[in-house]
Amino acid sequence: MSTIDNIPVRHEPPTAEAGSKRSNPLAHVFDELVKFCRSRSLFMLHYCTGCGAIELPPAMTSRFDMERLGIQPMVSPRQADILLITGYVSIKTLKRVILTYEQMPAPKYVIGICSCTVNGGMYWQSYATAKVLKEYMPVDMYIAGCMPRPEAVISGLRELIVDIKSGRADAWKRYYQNYDYYLGNQQKLFGDNWQTPTDVIAEARHYGLLTEQTLGEHTALLEKHQRPLQALEMRLTKKEKQEL
């Protein structure tokens, strides 16, 4: 997990039979259909972190028009598929990014735009920014550049579509499979009593992705101080009742 070579950047489109030797021609039809539909209807979370966000309005709107690829902005993480990290992430922001990421329903895809998400970019000396994004959450694709132009963003998103269609974009599974690693890096930065409202281990169990690396010393530390989630109490206050 330490070299840049591991970053899944692909240039050649995959061949039609890549990794799917099937005996029954109808066996995977439904899977293929689901993958196709998934890749052609992507909702991109409207959450921007750094300067790279300025390239998204032209990419989304009429000039470059992301919507012709089926990609639309979405306001809520609960209904989004793609999390774009557009530029440097300060440590404060990273906490919010992780909360947001964990709230998104699987399958979810993370794209790191700009050099800053790779290794800190021009802010590598700053005390305030987190440097290597993939230490804290799995990243499907990086679009390097400072900043990448809308053409580069769109070409990256097209490659993501190809990856989703061929089933290669499965970084979200790694978060569940190696949760202990990611949580350890998060704890190193945020302190030992770091806790998110999402129960990632239960979700990993739900998706059937619980592996040996999911649990470890860091999750044990989390369980020590983790408070169970409780529903928020919702009731009218006295004052509101009187008004009604």
Binding site: I4, G120, S126, A144, L189
Partner: protein, 183 residues
């Protein structure tokens, strides 16, 4: 009117002994003043010379002189000119008077300087943490705080040397100035 006010102000400031006065251009004045005289100068500028807008307070850490330099930028809409009042305070204990009673926006700048440099402003309404609410280290803009050492200690380094860059370097191109060359 506005020109007269400028001339009047120039003459006045030149006459005051403890004030070093420099007119940089028709719209900029630099004033160096002792720290105990600064509130009086700002009161004069605001009350009698129409400098009602505090644009910013900036702080410079002169670690070799063991001093902080505070720069108060005040703007006049009438004369359309900016006065930068420079003053120096000792780095230790780094305590100065707030000008909140003269200019209320000062609370914002003073809180920021307190957070970034650790200068305490007496009489400022709020000296709590401002932006770095989740930061527990020393004030990060002080010169003795080594940001690079902090980063090397806290974060891992990720080398970015992809194939396309290697190809360019083989042809004689690539990065011309490396960070270590300019430091």
């Amino acid at each position: 009117m506005s020109k007269e006010l400028n001339i009047w102000l120039d003459n006045l400031l030149e006459d005051i002994e403890s004030v070093q006065f420099q007119r940089k251009s028709s719209r900029r004045v630099r004033v160096d003043v002792a720290s105990e005289a600064l509130p009086a100068l700002l009161e004069l500028l605001q009350g009698h010379a129409s400098y009602v807008h505090l644009s910013a307070i900036s702080c410079v850490d002169w670690i070799d002189d063991n001093e902080f330099e505070l720069v108060y930028h005040v703007w006049s809409y009438e004369t359309r000119s900016l006065v930068s009042a420079h003053t120096r305070i000792p780095r230790d204990p780094g305590v100065y008077l707030s000008i909140y009673d003269l200019y209320q926006p000062a609370a914002f700048f003073e809180r920021d300087i307190h957070e970034m440099f650790g200068v305490y402003f007496e009489g400022s309404p709020d000296m709590e943490k401002f932006i770095l609410t989740e930061w527990e280290g020393p004030p990060p803009m002080r010169k003795e705080f080594d940001s690079e050492a902090f980063v090397n200690e806290t974060f891992t380094w990720e080398q970015y040397h992809p194939q396309w860059l290697k190809d360019i370097e083989e042809e004689g191109g690539g990065i011309t100035t490396r960070p270590e060359d300019v430091r």
